[in-house]
């Protein structure tokens, strides 16, 4: 549904020379999936989201949504932007109203404001300025604003950074639910969290974006190392149990619950 074809993206450095960020990037992303975007700092995660958000056009190549070239005309781009919800890494850039309530009321979809206030537990914050909120509260407000228009594509840049365990779980559950009907892409530095929640991983590095299903990636920790990422703890735990002969070669799991269930299973059988 979202199709990148031969995308090149180059930036000019301060020295005046051109630095390629993405090189002949071709990728196809579909709805009903949650894609976890992984890569080290400075590799282009935010740039990738900007390219597919309709905000930044590639130097060459096309980004197409439902076969329509997003950047072909100003109108096409506007139409596309209406269907994208993009939670920026710095939520301050999204806010411009005096109060949290005004921020929520702004734009179409006023009917859903009450629900959002309830769902995101924003009631105590309604009269506060969005800029005075704590880091975690800002992330919550940004997500609430983006969900108001129920975008077909939801992009979240480090949405869980700085959230406490309670709201982290809340946001993760929300992403899992949202992706059932939509295309959702999120960036996180918490590799364990990315593995536990995403359907597929998008690795960014070396000018490319590579797509892997979760279990395939867990079985080959070398992939993570190739992109200079930490091996997920789920993979490390499985690997340790396999080395001890307690798990078989193929027993890799996405979450702690699944690992615990597998151990329980073995315990009962023995």
């Amino acid at each position: 549904m979202l199709e990148l074809k031969n995308v090149n993206y180059t930036v000019k450095t301060t020295q005046g020379d051109e630095r390629p960020i993405f090189n002949q990037l071709s990728l196809s992303l579909v709805p009903h999936k949650l894609y976890g975007l992984l890569g080290v700092n400075g590799v282009g995660k935010t740039t990738f989201l900007n390219l597919i958000s309709g905000l930044v056009a590639p130097t060459t190549g096309t980004v197409a949504f439902k076969t329509k070239d997003v950047y072909q005309s100003a109108k096409q781009r506007r139409d596309y932007l209406d269907q994208v919800g993009y939670c920026l890494q710095n939520p301050d850039s999204l806010f411009f109203n005096k109060t949290v309530l005004d921020e929520l009321r702004y734009g179409a979809g006023a009917a859903s404001v009450e629900n959002l206030i309830q769902q995101f537990a924003l009631k105590p914050l309604l009269t506060a300025s969005p800029f005075e909120l704590s880091g975690g509260q800002k992330k919550r407000l940004a997500l609430a604003i983006m969900l108001k228009k129920q975008p077909e594509i939801l992009l979240c840049d480090e949405i869980t950074a700085g959230l406490d365990a309670h709201y982290r779980q809340f946001v993760l559950d929300l992403l899992k639910q949202y992706k059932r009907q939509h295309l959702t892409i999120w960036v996180t530095h918490d590799i364990d969290e990315a593995v536990a929640v995403s359907d597929e991983l998008l690795f960014i590095g070396h000018g490319r974006v590579q797509k892997y299903p979760i279990l395939a990636a867990l079985r080959q920790p070398a992939i993570f190392k190739h992109y200079h990422l930490r091996v997920p703890s789920q993979a490390a735990i499985s690997k340790a149990l396999i080395t001890q002969g307690l798990f078989t070669d193929q027993q890799y799991y996405r979450s702690n619950q699944e690992i615990a269930a597998a151990i329980t299973q073995i315990w009962k059988l023995r």
């Binding site: 450095t13 301060t14 880091g135 309670h166 735990i237 073995i266 023995r270």
Partner: protein, 298 residues
């Protein structure tokens, strides 16, 4: 190395600090007062890394800014080495003794790039050009950030900016460094780098750190942890006992280490697993092996 903690004199002592914001509601000058912190009492001891945790919106950043003398409390007293904050003159000297890295690093920089920012920053503290150059060389080599000093901040990633912000706060050798979620925006390798550096600072440079955090990797660095909730310090824990107690971690909205979470799930399923010695992978594997092999022999 023997570390003297609670018995030593506190480096920083906070007594009965209270802070409220007054908001203007309308043009009739009606205002509303919201109490953010009430009756905060805490001590930070020399050469310790003290963790400060608490749910989102509990006042962690506000308290950090008060300790860094960026905002003033309405009531209460803060002393550094026994001297009241009010008595430390000139005022900028206090900003040299206690430095802070903000949660939002964008708020940290004024200059276009690190060199320019350091120039602006250190001139305030009476550094001359040579001293500033030396300070830049010193901190950037410590972090391996030499290549970034001339790059405009706009061209740097969030993580790179975070590293530079910490470097800057260290440049004037503060007695207390306050870090507000320093690795929240960083990836694995950069997180490891910051954490290693914090360990090095504690061991070799005897910098005392107050670390506001939600992350286990950062908590593991601390000696003690204070829990802030609803504007007051609710609890204080030794880090080791905190990190091996799932119920306490969950009650304080903190993440649970994976090995501990799995063992707890096994216990709840009725399996006869014991207590983990620590949260490490070898300790975990030993426990699971003991469980499964015992069953095998029975």
């Amino acid at each position: 190395m023997a570390v003297i903690k609670q018995s030593a004199n506190a480096l920083l002592k906070v007594t009965h600090v209270q802070y409220a914001v007054e908001q203007l509601l309308n043009l009739n000058m009606e205002t509303r007062k919201t109490e953010i912190l009430h009756d905060i009492n805490l001590s930070v001891y020399p050469n310790e890394i003290l963790g400060l945790v608490g749910p989102n919106g509990s006042g962690k950043s506000t308290l950090s800014k008060i300790l860094a003398h960026i905002i003033e409390p309405n009531q209460g007293k803060i002393t550094l080495n026994g001297a009241d904050y009010q008595s430390i003159q000139p005022e900028w000297h206090l900003h040299q003794l206690v430095t802070m890295v903000f949660q939002d690093v964008e708020a940290q920089f004024i200059g276009q790039n690190f060199t320019e920012d350091m120039l602006l920053y250190l001139t305030n503290f009476g550094y001359n050009e040579t001293q500033i150059e030396n300070a830049i060389t010193e901190v950037t080599s410590l972090f391996g950030l030499q290549d970034l000093v001339e790059q405009p901040f706009t061209a740097l990633s969030g993580g790179q900016k975070q590293l530079l912000a910490i470097a800057e706060a260290l440049a004037i050798h503060p007695q207390l460094l306050i870090l507000d979620e320093p690795t929240a925006q960083l990836d694995g390798p950069n997180t490891d780098m910051v954490i290693q550096l914090l360990q090095q600072l504690q061991r070799e440079h005897r910098v005392t750190i107050l670390l506001v955090t939600h992350k286990l990797a950062e908590l593991a660095l601390t000696d003690r942890v204070l829990v802030l909730n609803q504007g007051t310090i609710k609890q204080s824990y030794a880090t080791k006992s905190l990190l091996t107690d799932q119920a306490v971690l969950e009650a304080n909205q903190l993440p649970v280490p994976d090995t501990l979470a799995i063992i707890t799930a096994l216990k709840q399923a009725g399996l006869p697993v014991g207590q983990l010695a620590d949260n490490s992978l070898p300790a975990f594997t030993r426990e699971v092996a003991r469980l499964l092999r015992r069953q095998q022999h029975a």
